[in-house]
């Protein structure tokens, strides 16, 4: 195969890693987001402070810095731990994929916390009051009234976060993951045609983003099926 084609195919294979990263981070981010929102709305003040600190941290620090902290710092942390346990000369390197999942999971969790908090708080008060008047306990109100609606309200913002996630995965190439960006750079290095390969990478990202957005729109339509023509 002619070099450009061969490396081009490599870029598409890199998309496998990108998609793996995205699909792994989504549940991590959603879980952290739900926990964070619960913490933020909790009556227990220290829990609120921790959650507030978490979101302030994540919203204020560049994703790249968090990736560096997790990738370079994580290895150090594990080595330090092992030193304490009596194994001083062991060298650990964290897999860039795992570092990426942790870092991007933290970032997505931070943003998702805000999204879920806003969604939980914007469930119409009247419905909650009606449920309480019917004798529901606080937990029952949450489970039967609030939670089913949170999904519908949060979905557009979560779609936004998904777009951001897809683009942030490109950053993991900086710490060595063989994703779209990394393979594009390898191809560019081999054929001395960086523009061509980067353009291919860009087109691939556009395709992934478009598919993701279409999926989210379909989910939105289905979640809002009771509210059409509102």
């Amino acid at each position: 195969m002619e070099p450009t084609w061969a490396y081009g195919w490599m870029i598409v294979q890199g998309a496998g890693w990108t998609l793996a990263l995205v699909l792994t981070v989504i549940p991590v981010g959603l879980l952290l987001g739900l926990m964070g929102a619960a913490a933020k709305l909790s009556p227990f003040a220290p829990l609120r402070w921790v959650a507030d600190g978490y979101t302030t941290f994540i919203r204020g620090i560049p994703e790249l810095l968090i990736i560096f902290l997790v990738f370079f710092g994580g290895s150090r942390a594990l080595m330090w731990l092992l030193e304490g346990l009596g194994l001083p000369d062991v060298r650990i390197d964290i897999n860039p994929f795992v570092a990426g999942v942790i870092a991007l999971g933290l970032v997505q969790g931070g943003f998702a916390t805000e999204v879920f908090r806003a969604a939980i708080q914007s469930v119409p008060r009247g419905q909650i009051e009606a449920a309480e008047a019917c004798g529901f306990t606080r937990w029952q109100v949450f489970r039967h009234v609030t939670l089913p609606q949170v999904w519908r309200i949060a979905l557009p913002s979560l779609g936004n976060l998904l777009q951001i996630l897809i683009k942030d995965t490109a950053l993991i190439s900086v710490v060595g993951l063989a994703d779209i960006m990394r393979n594009a750079q390898i191809g560019a290095g081999a054929t001395k045609e960086p523009f061509t390969f980067l353009l291919m990478a860009g087109a691939l990202y556009l395709m992934i983003t478009t598919v993701a957005t279409t999926g989210i729109t379909l989910m939105e339509k289905r979640a809002n099926r009771a509210y059409r023509r509102a």
Binding site: F57, R59, L64, A170, Y205
Partner: protein, 255 residues
């Protein structure tokens, strides 16, 4: 925390902060200026006027900033005609200017999309009133639509500025010595990730705080017309128990 190392790195970190601020403010200024005509074109009724801005925004919002950055820094070097041209030596060869260009283009796309939403959200009555007064399109934009748009957009715009600030850290990947770049240099010298990256992170947090404060001040200024009045009668009403603050949010007539 090795404070001695941080103290040693501090001057360079501050120098990096200065570069970060340049990478934030200059592209932001140009992007905001460029976005206005782009957004106005984007909301045009004529499809062929909308098409190009829509495509630009779609591409620059849909691809990662890293791709755009690399395309300009590494990609443009592929073309011999560019390499021989005069643009090369002065601008395109330097990572700093490539980063500036990439950030400007990227910010333009995001801000233009914000402005599109803002322009569409201007109350239609105000636009109709402007037309009724005989204002041309340009006059309507200048006197009515754009000022209103700014007030609508400002919270999302300040969000955008914060994202821009965080995005400047990507310049470190193409060897620009911004705050992240300096932190990375010191990390590779001493292999102490926490000290330097956390110090850099703290500086970013301070920057975000300052930027948010400034923009909130601007929001306050722009909303002067909607704050409670300062007359004695109004103040007395405010002191009465159960009084609600006046303002756009409270449209029910006072008792």
């Amino acid at each position: 925390m090795r404070w001695d190392l941080i103290a040693e790195a501090a001057p360079d970190l501050l120098e990096g902060t200065w570069v970060t601020l340049q990478l934030l403010l200059i592209p932001l200024a140009f992007a905001t200026a460029l976005s206005i005509p782009l957004a106005i074109a984007r909301v045009s009724r004529l499809w062929w006027v909308r098409a190009l801005p829509a495509a630009f925004i779609f591409v620059f919002r849909g691809t990662p900033l890293l791709v755009q950055l690399f395309l300009i820094y590494y990609g443009l070097g592929q073309f011999e005609t560019l390499r021989d041209g005069f643009l090369w030596d002065n601008i395109l060869r330097h990572a700093y200017w490539c980063a500036m260009i990439a950030f400007t283009l990227n910010n333009t796309a995001y801000i233009a999309e914000l402005m599109r939403g803002g322009i569409n959200a201007v109350p239609h009555g105000e636009v109709e009133a402007a037309r009724a007064y005989g204002m041309s399109g340009l006059q309507a934009y200048r006197h009515v639509i754009l000022p209103r748009m700014w007030r609508i957009i400002l919270p999302a715009y300040s969000n955008e500025v914060v994202f821009s600030l965080k995005a400047t850290s990507l310049a470190s990947v193409i060897t620009v010595l911004d705050l992240t770049g300096q932190a990375k240099v010191y990390y590779s010298m001493y292999y102490e990730p926490y000290d330097f990256f956390i110090a850099a992170g703290a500086i970013y947090l301070v920057l975000v705080f300052v930027v948010t404060r400034i923009l909130r001040g601007v929001e306050w200024q722009l909303n002067r017309a909607f704050r409670p009045p300062k007359t004695m009668a109004a103040a007395a009403q405010d002191d009465a128990p159960g009084a609600a603050p006046r303002g756009v949010a409270n449209t029910t007539p006072a008792a």
